[in-house]
């Protein structure tokens, strides 16, 4: 049976409403006043864009919302979307000292949203590029968070930035690929507009390599930033994979970002293969669009899943189901449509290797299958458009982590295409660092700040640096050190 949409417009809109709405002024004030205003706050060290978090929170407490938003956006131009999509429990909030006082961490994400919403709701421009331009021009390939972060910083440093985006809109995964109830495409597009207002030009519908070559760009521009992101979802390579009801997770999510919610087709029994954060986005959204059963199928056990605990909790609250230790071996077909999955049980052998248990196959009825196995690297595309740029063994762009510079001195890189796949906030931070790297290439001038260096950790006379300089994740630290 082909699948159709299942809900009326009102129900669909209600189910997809934001899970964490904007704070009321009183809620924001109470929360802001809880913040201790730590000096070299660990949250700054755990933010990959190094936002002066205690600084912006105290500005909320003093009713200086415009200043608060300026503090956020000057470090992270996508502070509005990061406030909504950051896994704060392993970043800033995970590092909050309140946890060590046996109290709940400050709700940094929600406060950040409160401050940045003030700017968007009141249409304020809080950042102003210099009037004096350097005359240097930078082309940015890809219009996602890394390029937006890089372009905004370049504009603020006085350089011309032009983004080339293949799709009809910029914003990358923020516009097309994040669960609707966390971040709406409208919000992402407001941030794109914010970047444009800094003087950044965005040329959409342009596929670099097809519509324009890198060689042509090099004639017009002084430097190039590669913010190409990642590609398609990995294939299952099993029979039935090309049936019409088998989707890539990001294609399914994109579907409900570019079409009215009540027109998005969804199965009544949906299987999602994989258990990362994108799988969670897919399984919850299928459920919220009316699926009776929305089931994660994961080859390993509950403890091994890559999704954050917070995301796992979200999916369970939404009534998603989980089948662990199972892999699909065939997508079952009836009359040219998906009618189920043949699955096999798995086990981990003594060497820690995953094995499929022979003879353990079983079948379950599904009418839609969503693949969320992680994204492929853009290796072929990169080899074709920038053949001289070195790639790492796993197909990422090789670059200096502090400056984003590749082996080709005027080509820089950041974001998923360079780091292999991380958070939006990491992409913005890497874009920003690359912009500073480009600025250094142009002017030989190093940019630091904006935070007083002693506030980012000092041992003796040695500065330690913020999360922009050394991105960390608290969960990894706890595993490694505690």
């Amino acid at each position: 049976m082909p699948i159709t949409s299942l809900l009326d417009p009102d129900t669909a809109a209600r189910n997809m409403a934001e899970i964490e709405p904007q704070y009321s002024p009183q809620e924001a004030l109470v929360e802001a006043h809880r913040c201790l205003f730590c000096f070299d706050a660990p949250c700054i060290k755990a933010c990959p864009t190094g936002i002066d978090i205690p600084g912006f929170i105290k500005k909320i407490a003093s009713h200086n919302l415009t200043g608060s938003a300026r503090t956020i956006l000057s470090s992270n131009i996508l502070g509005g979307s990061c406030a909504r999509v950051c896994p704060t429990s392993v970043l800033c909030e995970g590092a909050c000292v309140m946890l060590d006082r046996d109290e709940k961490p400050i709700k940094i994400g929600r406060l950040q949203r409160y401050a940045t919403d003030h700017v968007f709701d009141n249409d304020l421009q809080v950042l102003h590029p210099p009037e004096q331009k350097s005359g240097k021009r930078v082309a940015l390939i890809g219009g996602g968070p890394a390029s937006l972060g890089c372009a905004a910083e370049l504009a603020l440093l006085g350089h011309d930035a032009v983004i080339f985006e293949r799709k009809p809109e910029a914003g990358g995964l923020n516009t097309y690929g994040i669960a609707y109830y966390k971040l709406t495409p409208e919000m992402s597009l407001k941030e794109v507009e914010l970047v444009k207002r800094l003087g950044v030009e965005i040329r959409t519908g342009v596929d670099v390599g097809t519509d324009i070559t890198v060689a042509e760009l090099e004639k017009e521009f002084d430097a190039i930033f590669l913010g190409v992101g990642l590609g398609h979802t990995y294939r299952l390579d099993i029979p039935g994979e090309d049936l019409p009801e088998v989707f890539e997770a990001l294609a399914f999510i994109e579907d409900l970002h570019v079409n009215p919610l009540h027109e998005v087709a969804v199965g009544k029994r949906v299987a999602v293969i994989g258990c990362g954060n994108t799988a969670i986005d897919a399984v919850t959204q299928a459920k919220r669009l009316g699926a009776e059963h929305s089931v994660i199928i994961y080859r390993r056990g509950e403890r091994d899943m890559p999704a954050y605990l917070y995301e796992y909790g979200l999916a369970k609250r939404d009534g998603a189901e989980f089948i662990f230790n199972a892999v699909p071996v065939e997508v079952l077909e009836k009359d040219g449509h998906v009618c189920g999955l043949k699955l096999a049980r798995t086990k981990v052998d003594d060497n820690g290797k995953l094995q499929v248990i022979a003879g353990s196959e079983f079948e379950l009825p599904f009418d839609m299958v969503i693949k969320a196995l992680g994204q492929e690297k853009m290796t072929d595309m990169l080899k074709s458009i920038v053949p001289d740029v070195n790639l790492t063994r796993n197909g990422c762009i090789e670059r200096d982590a502090a400056t984003g510079q590749t082996n080709v001195p005027h080509i820089f890189a950041g974001g998923d295409g360079a780091n292999g796949g991380s958070e939006v906030v990491n992409a913005v931070g890497e874009g920003k660092k690359a912009a500073r790297g480009i600025h250094r290439l142009f002017t030989n001038e190093a940019i630091e700040g904006p935070i007083q260096w002693t506030r980012m950790g000092v041992v003796g006379d040695k500065p330690v640096g913020s999360g922009l300089d050394h991105p960390i994740r608290v969960d990894e630290h706890e595993t490694a050190f505690i």
Binding site: H33, F37, C38, F39, K45, A61, V97, V464
Partner: protein, 438 residues
């Protein structure tokens, strides 16, 4: 159970907690509700020639999310007729014979004072309180703080009152004066039986930056008000102690100023108050707060082995001495407990930018305390530079963790030496002047 009953200059009360003369003590209805809740006494809202109030009368200071840390008012004395107030005092006294009702009075001429004193005694009031403190509205008419700011006038008016006094007289003092001692001594010289302090402090709480006018806003204008509430407690405690320690005062004290709970009350009593008066906390939460005050004071007295609240009165007065008598050789330094330190480093920056640069930031691994609470790799921990630490207490004050930073007494083997001793020793050549700090 400790005995909480008190006797302030002949005014008996089942406990030391009195409702201060203010909006909560305006009517018999409120007086009944206060006694039902457990208050020991009520000082009636000041009686005088009825006045006319403005609308919009209060404004507050809010601090870090806490409402009404300080309260400012421009309300005047009672707007009800003296006969109504005295009739209601009689009614309340008949129903609550064992509780204290004190008539607060404010008038002008000798005759009028005599009339009000007689009316108070006739109504059955246990005592009177002369309002020499109100800082707005009445002082312009030569009453309230206009009296309290001039010791000679205090002495004259108290003298008139004492000519006819049949019941104890408390004089309520204004803090809007350079030295509270002179006002208290004047009251004492004139024969007053007790003093109460402090009345409200002249104040403007904030300016509305859109209207360019302070609150409370009255048709495009505002005026200087009277400030009270938790924020004034330190000022009040200071003045209460000054009066309690003054050998020229020597009359009982009813303490007033930001008292919100039993602990505040106990501190006022320890610095010399016999009763305490409360207003702002009632205006914030209602009369019910007295339950905790009674229970808390009782438990404290039991725990401290005191059988009566009278044993607490004035216990801490003598510990407050002139600066020049303090021991210059006493030494304390800060000590950090790394097991509870959460790594906010507020102590560091408070000392570095705000005090004496006696805290360093060091590598926790090198320090040997490892990655404990609040520590990320590369995030330093604070370390006291013991040679530089002057023991000022600031780090312990800003530390948000209980008992994480403690101030430790250091035995430096030196004998006690006050500033006065030091001056004498230098003058006699017994010691050389201590070198100035670099």
């Amino acid at each position: 159970m400790a005995d909480l009953s008190i006797n302030l200059a002949g005014i008996k009360s089942p406990n030391p907690f009195w409702v201060a003369s203010a909006p909560p003590s305006n009517t018999a209805y409120q007086c009944h509700r206060a006694f039902e809740a457990g208050w020991g006494g009520v000082v009636w809202k000041t009686i005088g020639e009825p006045i006319v109030n403005v609308s919009s009368r209060y404004s507050s200071l809010d601090l870090n999310g806490s409402r009404m840390v300080g309260l400012n008012n421009i309300e005047l004395i009672t707007d009800r007729a003296p006969e109504t107030n005295f009739r209601e005092i009689r009614e309340c006294k008949d129903r609550w014979p064992d509780h204290a009702i004190i008539a607060s009075l404010m008038t002008d001429t000798r005759e009028n004072w005599h009339d009000y004193m007689k009316a108070s005694a006739d109504a059955g009031a246990d005592g009177v309180e002369l309002n020499f403190g109100c800082p707005h509205g009445m002082c312009e008419r030569g009453m309230g703080s206009a009296v309290g700011q001039n010791p000679d006038v205090i002495e004259t008016i108290v003298g008139w009152v004492m000519e006819v006094a049949e019941i104890p007289v408390i004089v309520k003092l204004t803090p809007n004066i350079t030295s509270i001692n002179h006002a208290a001594r004047a009251a004492s010289r004139a024969g007053a039986n007790a003093i109460s302090l402090i009345n409200t402090i002249n104040s403007i709480t904030q300016v509305d930056l859109d209207r360019m006018c302070p609150e409370p806003y009255v048709a495009g204008q505002s005026t200087h008000g009277g400030y009270c509430g938790p924020a004034v407690k330190p000022i009040a405690l200071n003045m209460v102690q000054e009066c309690a320690a003054d050998p020229e005062v020597l009359i009982p004290i009813s303490g007033i100023g930001g008292i919100s709970n039993w602990k505040d009350a106990a501190e006022f009593i320890a610095l010399g108050s016999t009763s305490v008066q409360v207003c702002t906390a009632i205006m914030h939460y209602g009369f019910r707060i007295v339950e905790d005050m009674i229970e808390g004071l009782n438990d404290y007295l039991d725990g401290a082995g005191m059988k009566s609240v009278n044993e607490l009165i004035g216990r801490a007065v003598q510990s407050v001495q002139r600066w020049e008598t303090l021991d210059l050789n006493y030494k304390r330094i800060a000590s950090i407990d790394y097991d509870t330190c959460i790594g906010c480093n507020l102590c560091y920056i408070a000392c570095e930018d705000g005090a004496h640069q006696a805290i360093a930031l060091v590598d926790p691994e090198a320090k040997g305390v490892g990655l404990g609470p609040g520590r990320l790799p590369g995030k330093p921990v604070p370390e006291i530079k013991e040679k530089e630490c002057v023991g000022c207490n600031l780090c312990a004050l800003v530390c948000p963790v209980d008992a994480c930073i403690t101030m430790i007494d250091v035995d430096n083997g030196k004998d006690r030496m006050s500033w006065s001793d030091y001056q004498a020793k230098v003058a006699s050549g017994e010691m050389k002047p201590i070198p100035a700090h670099p």
